[in-house]
C-alpha cells in the first residue's frame, strides 16, 4: 500500500524550510525505493512545529515537527510512518491530540492542513460543497435569512452582520452585482486569510459562490495582497479546477445560477484593505478611501451593489449552509456567535492559529494556549486587532474574546490577531510606531490622518526627548481626539487606540526616565 506523506505548502511552513524538507523526503523515497507519495497540504496552524510532516498510517496520521531537511534521513531511519510510537525526538504522535489543536473548535478551518488543497475530490470527501448544494436549491432570500440567523459577523474587523449586508445587496435591482472578497490581509499578527486560501481554497470559492447565488451577483473578485504569492497561485489554480468541475460558470453545480470569479492582486498598500479603497484599487484607480454613504452594498464596485466580505466571513458560510444556522450560532457568547480563528503571534511560545468559539479570555489565550512569551520573560502587553488595536496590560487579560467586551475596554478584536510583548517592550516606542505606521500607510485623503499622523510622530518624539512632556502628551491626546472622530476611515480613526492605550495603561513609559536620560 502506498504511504502518503503530508508536507505543508503553506507560506509559513515554506518560510521555515518545507520546500527543502519535501525535496529531501522525495530523495529518500526514491533512494530507498519506497512506495510512498507526497501530498503538499495546508498548515494545521501550529507554527512553532512547522514544517510539520505528517504520515498516513493504518492507525491514522502521525506528525513530526519541526522538521528540518537535515532531519529527514533520520526520520526514515527511525521508520517514518511505520509506527505510531516512534522514539524520534521530532515525533509528535497524532496531531489531533496535540493540546493546541485538540482544544480548538474547527468549523471554518475544518479541512485546513488535512486535505490536499487542490483536490476537489478531497474537498468533497471532507464535506465540501454541501453548503453550496443546499444553497442552489434555495430561494436567495432564504439563504440570506440562514446566514443572518447564524449570527455571522464580518471577520475583517468591523463585525457587521454578514446577512444584513447580503440582504441590502439582494434588495438592489441593478443589472449587475458583485461579490468582492477582501484578502488584503495586512494587520500585524494575522495570517488566517492566507492560511485558508493556501490550505483550503475551495471553501472560499464555495462561500463566494453561495454569496453570489444569495444576492444575484454573478461575478466575484478576490483581492489578494501582493505579499501572498502562494495564496495567489493556489487560488488561481483552485478557481481553474472549480470552473472545470462546474462549481463556477454559467450553471453553478448545474443550477441556473451563474457565478464566476477571478483573483486580483494588490500593489502593496495597507489602506487597500479598507473596503472602499480596495474597491477603488480593483477598479484600477488610486487606492483612496471613499466616503460612505453610499454604502458599497448599494454603490460598490464599478458603482454596482457589492458584497464585500473578508475571507474568513465568506469561508465560514459553507458550514452554515451545510450544518444550519443553529449549529453555527450555538458557539460563542453574547452577540459574537460562532467561532473565530485567533492568530497568536509576536513574542509568544506557541504561535499559531487557534479557532475557537468566542468567549475565551485574553489571558487564557496568551498564557494557557500560547504558553507565555518565547523569551520566557513576563508578558507586558498584548496588542489585539493588528496595528490599530489597543495595547492591553495584564490587568485586562480577563477580557473575554468578544466584540462588545473588547469595545467596552476601549479595544477591538479586529481580524483577531494577537501580538504579545514581554516586559522589555517600550510602550512609548510602540505608540510612536502606531503613528508612524499610520503616516506610512495613510492614503492621504483626509487631513487628520494625512497630517495628524506625521505630527503624532513628531510630538511623541518630543515627549521621548523630555521636551515639555505634559504639554505634548496633552497635545497627543487632543490629536488623538481629532483623529478618532475626524478621520474618514479606520486607519486614522483607530490609530488613537494603540497610542492612547499605551499612554493610559503604561504611563510609566511616558514619564521622566531618570536612568535612561542620565545615561544619555
Amino acid at each position: 500500500m502506498t504511504v502518503t506523506i503530508y508536507i505543508p505548502r503553506d507560506s509559513g511552513a515554506l518560510a521555515l524550510g518545507a520546500e527543502k524538507v519535501a525535496k529531501a523526503v522525495e530523495t529518500e523515497i526514491s533512494e530507498r525505493g519506497l512506495d510512498a507519495k507526497i501530498v503538499r497540504n495546508g498548515s494545521r496552524g501550529l507554527y512553532w512545529l512547522e514544517p510539520m510532516v505528517e504520515v498516513e498510517t493504518p492507525a491514522g496520521r502521525v506528525a513530526y515537527g519541526p522538521v528540518k531537511a537535515k532531519d529527514v534521513a533520520s526520520l526514515f531511519e527511525a521508520g517514518l510512518g511505520l509506527t505510531t510510537h516512534s522514539a524520534h525526538p521530532l515525533f509528535l504522535g497524532d496531531p489531533e491530540k496535540i493540546p493546541f489543536l485538540a482544544k480548538q473548535t474547527r468549523l471554518t478551518f475544518a479541512r485546513c492542513g488535512i486535505t490536499d488543497p487542490l483536490s476537489l475530490d478531497d474537498y468533497r470527501a471532507h464535506g465540501g460543497l454541501k453548503g453550496l448544494e443546499n444553497a442552489v436549491a434555495m430561494a436567495p432570500a432564504d439563504i440570506v435569512k440562514q446566514v443572518t440567523e447564524s449570527g455571522l459577523r464580518g471577520r475583517g474587523g468591523a463585525g457587521f452582520p454578514t446577512g444584513i449586508k447580503w440582504k441590502t445587496v439582494l434588495d438592489q435591482t441593478d443589472d449587475r452585482k458583485y461579490i468582492v472578497c477582501n484578502a488584503d490581509e495586512g494587520d500585524s499578527a494575522t495570517f488566517a486569510d492566507r492560511m485558508i486560501m493556501e490550505g483550503d481554497p475551495f471553501v472560499l470559492i464555495e462561500g463566494m459562490a453561495i454569496a453570489g447565488v444569495a444576492t444575484g451577483a454573478t461575478k466575484g473578485y478576490i483581492y489578494i495582497r501582493l505579499e501572498y504569492p502562494h495564496a495567489v497561485a493556489t487560488m488561481n489554480a483552485a478557481i481553474g479546477i472549480a470552473r472545470q468541475a462546474g462549481v463556477l460558470g454559467v450553471n453553478v453545480l448545474g443550477s441556473p445560477n451563474a457565478f464566476d470569479m477571478e483573483v486580483r492582486v494588490g500593489a502593496g498598500a495597507y489602506v487597500c484593505g479598507e473596503e472602499t479603497s480596495l474597491l477603488n484599487s480593483l477598479e484600477g484607480k488610486r487606492g483612496v478611501v471613499r466616503a460612505k454613504p453610499p454604502l458599497p452594498a448599494i454603490q460598490g464596485l464599478f458603482g454596482k451593489p457589492t458584497v464585500i466580505n473578508n475571507v474568513i466571513s465568506l469561508a465560514s458560510v459553507p458550514i452554515i449552509m451545510d450544518k444550519g444556522a443553529e449549529h453555527y450560532k450555538d458557539f460563542g457568547m453574547g452577540r459574537s456567535r460562532g467561532t473565530i480563528p485567533i492568530q497568536i503571534a509576536g513574542n509568544v511560545k506557541h504561535g499559531g492559529l487557534f479557532e475557537a468559539a468566542f468567549g475565551l479570555s485574553l489571558g487564557e489565550i496568551i498564557d494557557d494556549i500560547g504558553g507565555g512569551t518565547a523569551t520566557g520573560r513576563p508578558v507586558k502587553a498584548a496588542q489585539v486587532g493588528g496595528p490599530l488595536g489597543a495595547y492591553f496590560p495584564r490587568a485586562l487579560f480577563d477580557t473575554p474574546f468578544d466584540y462588545e467586551a473588547f469595545a467596552a475596554k476601549d479595544g477591538l478584536i479586529g481580524h483577531a490577531g494577537i501580538t504579545v510583548f514581554d516586559e522589555s517592550a517600550d510602550m512609548l516606542k510602540q505608540a510612536r510606531f502606531a503613528m508612524e505606521f499610520c503616516a506610512v500607510e495613510s492614503c492621504g485623503k483626509c487631513t487628520p490622518c494625512r497630517i495628524g499622523s506625521v505630527r503624532g510622530i513628531e510630538t511623541l518624539d518630543k515627549v521621548a526627548q523630555g521636551v515639555e512632556r505634559d504639554k505634548n502628551l496633552a497635545l497627543v491626546a487632543d490629536l488623538c481626539n481629532t483623529m478618532k472622530f475626524g478621520s474618514l476611515c479606520a486607519l486614522g480613526g483607530f490609530t488613537p487606540y494603540p497610542v492612547m492605550s499605551a499612554i493610559n495603561h503604561f504611563p510609566e513609559d511616558f514619564g521622566p526616565h531618570p536612568m535612561k536620560e542620565a545615561a544619555e
Binding site: A269, V271, R286, V288, A291, K292, P293, A439, V440, E441, S442, C443, G444, K445, C446, T447, P448, C449, R450, I451, G452, S453, V454, R455, E458, T459, K471, L475, D478, L479, N481, T482, F485, G486, S487, L488
Partner: protein
C-alpha cells in the same frame, strides 16, 4: 458697484422629487431627498465650514471640517457626504465639533506656517476665511516639523515641489496646497479632461499635472476649473496675484463661441483682473474654457486701434483723424458712390461677434439708409444651410434644444463637429453625460478627441470621406426605414405621412444602402447599420452637428437629412433629443435672427412679404426694396464687374475667413470705399479706406444669442477705449447719411426689435435682467421663452420629409490633386485668431499645421515638422506637417487660425447650392515637400506690413 458673490452650497443639487424635512440648529428646512446635510444647512441659512466641498463637484469628504452631530446617531459624520433624512435633527455648532474643527485647522496650519510662504497668496482665500471663522489662535505643533515649504524649514526635500509658473494664466504653488482634491475633481467631473491627479500617499500626497509634469506640458487644457475650485491660493490666476483682488464685478456674456457662457468680469480700477465663470449662467452653469476664462488680453493689446483712420488709396499710409472727419468722409463717399454707380453699389456686412442690437442697426442702416438689401453676414460661410434646412423641415432656423437637454440624452450623434475644440464648455457637459452611460456615435473624417478620450469612447465612429455626408446620412435612414426602426406613431401624428412614404421609398433604394454608400465613403457597412440601430432604438437620441455638415456643396441637403432622421425616429420635441447645430460664434445665431441676410428681415421673414415690409416701412418711413440684395460672394463678383463700390464691414475679416482669398482680395481691391469697423487692422483692412475703431464686448451693453437661441445680456464693464461702442458708431454713420436715429441705449434698440418681430415680442432688457436669459421665441405664448422647440407639433405645422439625393461635389481628387483637405479649429485658438493670437493662448498653438496620415507622408518623403507646399487649383500655401493617424489616408487637415498660413488661399469657390455657404470642408489638394514659406506668403507679408503703416507712428512691431 460691488463684487457679485455667489453662494456655494457645497454639494450639487439633488434632482429628486421626494421632499425631506429636517432641522438644522433649530431651523426647519425642506429639501429634495438625496441633498447633503451641508447643502440643506446652507439653504436654511446655516453655513457649515468647509474646505474640500464645493457645489461644482460631488462630495468627497476629505477635509473633515464640515462634521456635524445628528441626534440619535453616534459619531460626527461629514455633512457633505451625509444625505438628509426625514425628521433629522442636526447640530452644526457644539463643543465637540468645535474641538475637532480646531484640531483639523491646527493641523493644516502646522503644515502651512503662513509666515513662510515665499510668495504670499491673496490672504483672502476660502482657507483663510475658514481659519478665521474657527478662531484658531495657536499652532501647538510648532514650526520645526515636516511641511511642504522649501527645504530648510524642517521640511524634507521629498516634501517640496517648486512653484509651477509654466501656465501663462495661473500658477500652482504646491507649498500652499492642502490636497483637498477639488482641482482634481473639477478636472474630472466638470471639465472631463482627467489631467490632474494626486500623486504619492499620506503626507507625500501632492496634486500633480499629468505624469508629474508642469501644467503646460501636461494634458491640461487650461479651462480654469481647477483654479476656480481651489480653496487656497495654491492655484491662482496670475493677474490676481500681480494686480490684486477685484473690487467689483459685472455679469456678462463671453464673446467667443456659440456656447455663450456667462462670466463675472471682475475689475480692479479700470482693468479686468479676472473672468470668473458665473454659476447662474444657464449655458455654462459655472464652467469655462481657456478662451473665455483667460484669453481676454486682446482687449488691451497694443495692436488695438483706438482712433479712426482714413486714406485715399490703399497704398497710402493710414492717417489718424477725428470721429467727425471719419464719419463725414464715409457718409460722403457712400453718397457719392450711390449717386455715381447706383443705389445698389454699396452694402454692409454685419458681425456675428457684435450684439444683436448692433447687428440690427447695420442691417437697418443698409435697408433704411442705403435703400437696398445688400446686407449679409459671416453666417453665410458657416451655418446658412442650418437656417435653410431646419427652416424647410421644421419651420424654424435654429437648434431645437437647450444645452441642459443633453442631461436626458441616451444616444448622442456628433456629426462634423469637434466640440472638445470648438465648443469646449458644451463638450464638458456632453462628456459628463457620456461618462454617465449615454452612447456616442461620431461621424467625422478625423478621429477627433470625441472618438476616444479618457472615459469616453464612441460606440461607432464612421470615418467617412469628406464630401459624403449626405450619402452617409441617407444610408442611416435606409437602415431605419428598411429595418422598420422608424417611429410610425410620431410620424403619423406630427408629420405628413404621404411625404414620409415618398421619402421612405427613396431612402430604401439599393443605392442608398450602407453597403453601397460604405463602399465609396470608406466606412464599414456594419458600423453604419449599428449606428442607425443605436440611434433609432437607443432611447433619447440627440444630434449635434457643426460646420462639417454645413460647409459643403450639399450643406443644406445634409441638414435636411439630419432633420429627416430626427423626425423618422421621433427624436424631436422633448428633453434629451433634437437637432442641435453647434454655432461657431458668440452671436452668429443672433446675427441671423436680426435680418442680416439679403433676403430676410428680422425673424427670418422674407423681404418679398408685403405685410412684413409694411411693419418696417411704417416705422422707418421709407419704401423698402422688395427684392433680395447681394450675398457676400455676389458683392465681390459685382465689385470685380465694377458695379459694387462701397462696403461697410463691421467686425468681420472676410479676407481671411472667406473662401478663395484671391477672389476676395480682387473684389475688395476693386472697391472705392471699404470701411472696416474692427478692433484691429485685420486682413480685410489691407484694402480699407476707412478704419473705424471697434469696441470689445467688455465695452458695451447689448445681447448675444447663443446656439440654444438663448439671449444673454452683455453688460458694459469698462468705458469704450475708442470713445464709442459699435452701435454708437453705426448710429453716427446713419445720422451722417441722413437717418434720424436717436437711440440712447441698446435697450431701446431691443425694444424696437421686440415691437417688430413676433418671436422676440416678449424680450426686453428688463426681462433679461429679471430672468437672466431667455430662449426665443419669447412672446405672449411663451412669456418665459422656449427651451425646447416643437414640443406638441412643428412650428411649420407638419414636419416635412424631403428627399436628399446625394450629388458628389465637383471638387474631386485626381492625379494632380490626389488628397482631400478639410479644415477645422483647435481649442486654444478662435476662428481667424484675431483675438486669441493676441493672448498667451499662442503658447499652445503658435502655427497652423497640416495633419497628414503617416502613409501619405511616407509616400511623399515627409517627416513630422517638415515644411510642405499645400496646393489646390485655387492656390497654394506652405505650412509645416504634423504626421498623425487622426486623419485617414487620403485626407489632410489644417486649422485656419493664423493669417500667414492663409488656408483659404487653397479653398475653392464651390458652395452650397441653396445658400452659397462655401465648401471649406472639401478641397482636392496635393502636398509636397517645400523649403519654407511660398513666394506668395512672403509677398503677402510685405504687403501686410506696408498696408498697416500709420502716419507719424513707427511701424507696429509685429
Amino acid at each position: 458697484m460691488d463684487l457679485v458673490r455667489e453662494i456655494d452650497f457645497g454639494t450639487p443639487a439633488s434632482t429628486s422629487e421626494k421632499q425631506v424635512t429636517l432641522t438644522v440648529d433649530g431651523k426647519t428646512i425642506t429639501v429634495p431627498e438625496g441633498t447633503s446635510i451641508m447643502r440643506a444647512s446652507m439653504e436654511a441659512g446655516v453655513e457649515i465650514p468647509k474646505l474640500c466641498a464645493t457645489d461644482m463637484v460631488d462630495a468627497f469628504g476629505s477635509c473633515r471640517v464640515c462634521l456635524v452631530e445628528i441626534d440619535g446617531r453616534g459619531g460626527t459624520p461629514a455633512s457633505c457626504t451625509t444625505p438628509v433624512g426625514e425628521g433629522m435633527v442636526v447640530h452644526t455648532q457644539t463643543d465637540r465639533l468645535n474641538a475637532i474643527r480646531r484640531g483639523v485647522m491646527e493641523l493644516y496650519v502646522s503644515d502651512h506656517p503662513s509666515a513662510w510662504n515665499e510668495t504670499p497668496g491673496t490672504g483672502a482665500s476660502e482657507f483663510d476665511k475658514v481659519a478665521a471663522e474657527i478662531g484658531l489662535t495657536e499652532n501647538r505643533y510648532g514650526t520645526e516639523g515636516r511641511n511642504h515649504v522649501a527645504p530648510g524649514n524642517g521640511s524634507l526635500t521629498i516634501d517640496y515641489m517648486v512653484r509651477d509658473e509654466s501656465n501663462p494664466y495661473f500658477t500652482y504653488d504646491p507649498a500652499q496646497c492642502i490636497v483637498c482634491s477639488r482641482c482634481v475633481r473639477a478636472c474630472e467631473e466638470v471639465q472631463g479632461t482627467f489631467a490632474l491627479t494626486i500623486e504619492g500617499r499620506g503626507f507625500e500626497s501632492r496634486v500633480s499635472a499629468g505624469m508629474h509634469q508642469s501644467f503646460l506640458e501636461s494634458e491640461c487644457v487650461s479651462c480654469g476649473a481647477c483654479v476656480q475650485a481651489c480653496p487656497t491660493d495654491a492655484l491662482r490666476e496670475k493677474t490676481v496675484l500681480e494686480k490684486g483682488l477685484p473690487e467689483r464685478s459685472v455679469v456678462t456674456t463671453c464673446a467667443y463661441c456659440g456656447v455663450g457662457c456667462s462670466f463675472k468680469a471682475e475689475v480692479k480700477g479700470d482693468e479686468v483682473v479676472r473672468m470668473m465663470p458665473y454659476k447662474g449662467g444657464k449655458a455654462n452653469h459655472g464652467h469655462s474654457c481657456v478662451k473665455g476664462r483667460f484669453a481676454y488680453g486682446y482687449a488691451t493689446h497694443e495692436d488695438r486701434i483706438l482712433k479712426p483712420m482714413l486714406r485715399e488709396k490703399i497704398t497710402d499710409p493710414w492717417r489718424e483723424v477725428s470721429w467727425e472727419e471719419a464719419i463725414a468722409y464715409t457718409a460722403s463717399e457712400f453718397r457719392r458712390i450711390q449717386y455715381q454707380y447706383g443705389r445698389g453699389a454699396v452694402g454692409g456686412i454685419t458681425s456675428s461677434r457684435c450684439t444683436n442690437e448692433e447687428t440690427y442697426l447695420v442691417q437697418k442702416m443698409v435697408r433704411q439708409g442705403f435703400l437696398n438689401n445688400n446686407v449679409d453676414t459671416c453666417a453665410r460661410v458657416c451655418h446658412s444651410p442650418t437656417g435653410y434646412g431646419l427652416g424647410q423641415t421644421f419651420g424654424t432656423s435654429a437648434g431645437t434644444q437647450d444645452f441642459d437637454s443633453v442631461e436626458h440624452t441616451d444616444v448622442v450623434v456628433v456629426i462634423g463637429a469637434n466640440p472638445v475644440s470648438a465648443h469646449p464648455v458644451f463638450a464638458s457637459r456632453l462628456k459628463k453625460r457620456l461618462r454617465q452611460g449615454a452612447k456616442l456615435i461620431v461621424i467625422d473624417p478625423r478621429r477627433t478627441e470625441m472618438v476616444r478620450s479618457p472615459h469616453i469612447e464612441a460606440a461607432h465612429h464612421l470615418p467617412l470621406k469628406p464630401g459624403t455626408n449626405v450619402a452617409m446620412l441617407t444610408a442611416l435612414a435606409h437602415v431605419i426605414v428598411t429595418e422598420g426602426l422608424f417611429n410610425e406613431a410620431f410620424i403619423r401624428e406630427r408629420c405628413d405621412w404621404a411625404e414620409f412614404q415618398d421619402w421612405a421609398s427613396f431612402v430604401a433604394l439599393p443605392e442608398n444602402s450602407p453597403e453601397t454608400v460604405g463602399g465609396y465613403a470608406g466606412v464599414n457597412p456594419e458600423e453604419i447599420r449599428g449606428a442607425a440601430r443605436l440611434y433609432a432604438r437607443g432611447g433619447n437620441g440627440a444630434i449635434y452637428y457643426g460646420l462639417g455638415v454645413t460647409e459643403h456643396s450639399q450643406g443644406s441637403t445634409a441638414v435636411i437629412a439630419i432633420a429627416n432622421l430626427a423626425m423618422a425616429t421621433g427624436n424631436i420635441g422633448r428633453p434629451g433629443v433634437g437637432v442641435n447645430p453647434l454655432r461657431g460664434q458668440n452671436n452668429v445665431q443672433g446675427s441671423c435672427d436680426m435680418g442680416s441676410f439679403p433676403h430676410e428681415l428680422p425673424g427670418y421673414r422674407h423681404i418679398s412679404g408685403d405685410a412684413v415690409r409694411d411693419i418696417y416701412e411704417s416705422l422707418w418711413g421709407v419704401k423698402l426694396d422688395n427684392e433680395p440684395g447681394l450675398r457676400i460672394p455676389n458683392m465681390l463678383d459685382a465689385a470685380v464687374d465694377g458695379s459694387f463700390k462701397g462696403i461697410y464691414i463691421q467686425g468681420e475679416d472676410i479676407l481671411q475667413s472667406d473662401p478663395d482669398t484671391k477672389h476676395v482680395s480682387a473684389g475688395l481691391a476693386a472697391m472705392e470705399c471699404v470701411v472696416v469697423h474692427d478692433l484691429f487692422l485685420n486682413e480685410t483692412a489691407r484694402y480699407a479706406h476707412v478704419f473705424l475703431p471697434g469696441s470689445t464686448f467688455l465695452e458695451k451693453d447689448g445681447t448675444f444669442t447663443n446656439a440654444e437661441r438663448r439671449m444673454n445680456l452683455v453688460r458694459k464693464v469698462l468705458e469704450p477705449k475708442a470713445t464709442y461702442a459699435d452701435w454708437e458708431a453705426t448710429q453716427l454713420l446713419a445720422r451722417a447719411i441722413g437717418l434720424d436715429w436717436n437711440y440712447t441705449h441698446p435697450s431701446e434698440i431691443l425694444d424696437e426689435i421686440a415691437a417688430t418681430t413676433p418671436s422676440f415680442a416678449g424680450v426686453s432688457f428688463a426681462k433679461l435682467e429679471e430672468m437672466g436669459s431667455v430662449q426665443w421665441p419669447c412672446n405672449e405664448k411663451a412669456p418665459a421663452g422656449t427651451p425646447i422647440m416643437h414640443i406638441d407639433g412643428f412650428v411649420r405645422g407638419k414636419g416635412k420629409f424631403i428627399r436628399t439625393e446625394y450629388v458628389a461635389t465637383d471638387e474631386k481628387t485626381g492625379p494632380r490633386f490626389p488628397l482631400l483637405l478639410t479644415t477645422g479649429r483647435i481649442l486654444s485658438q478662435y476662428n481667424v485668431g484675431a483675438q486669441t493670437r493676441r493672448t498667451h493662448n499662442v503658447m499652445w498653438h503658435d502655427e497652423d499645421r497640416l495633419e497628414i496620415h503617416p502613409h501619405d507622408a511616407e509616400n511623399r518623403g515627409l517627416r513630422d515638422g517638415d515644411w510642405v507646399r499645400l496646393a489646390s487649383r485655387a492656390g497654394e500655401t506652405t505650412l509645416r506637417a504634423l504626421i498623425t493617424e487622426r486623419v485617414a489616408p487620403g485626407v489632410v487637415y489644417t486649422t485656419f487660425h493664423h493669417p500667414d498660413t492663409q488656408a483659404n488661399v487653397i479653398t475653392t469657390d464651390f458652395s452650397d447650392w441653396a445658400t452659397n455657404c462655401p465648401e471649406y470642408k472639401v478641397t482636392a489638394v496635393q502636398v509636397s515637400p517645400s523649403n519654407g514659406p511660398s513666394d506668395w506668403q512672403e509677398e503677402y507679408e510685405e504687403l501686410s506690413r506696408k498696408s498697416r503703416r500709420i502716419e507719424g507712428r513707427l511701424e507696429a512691431a509685429e
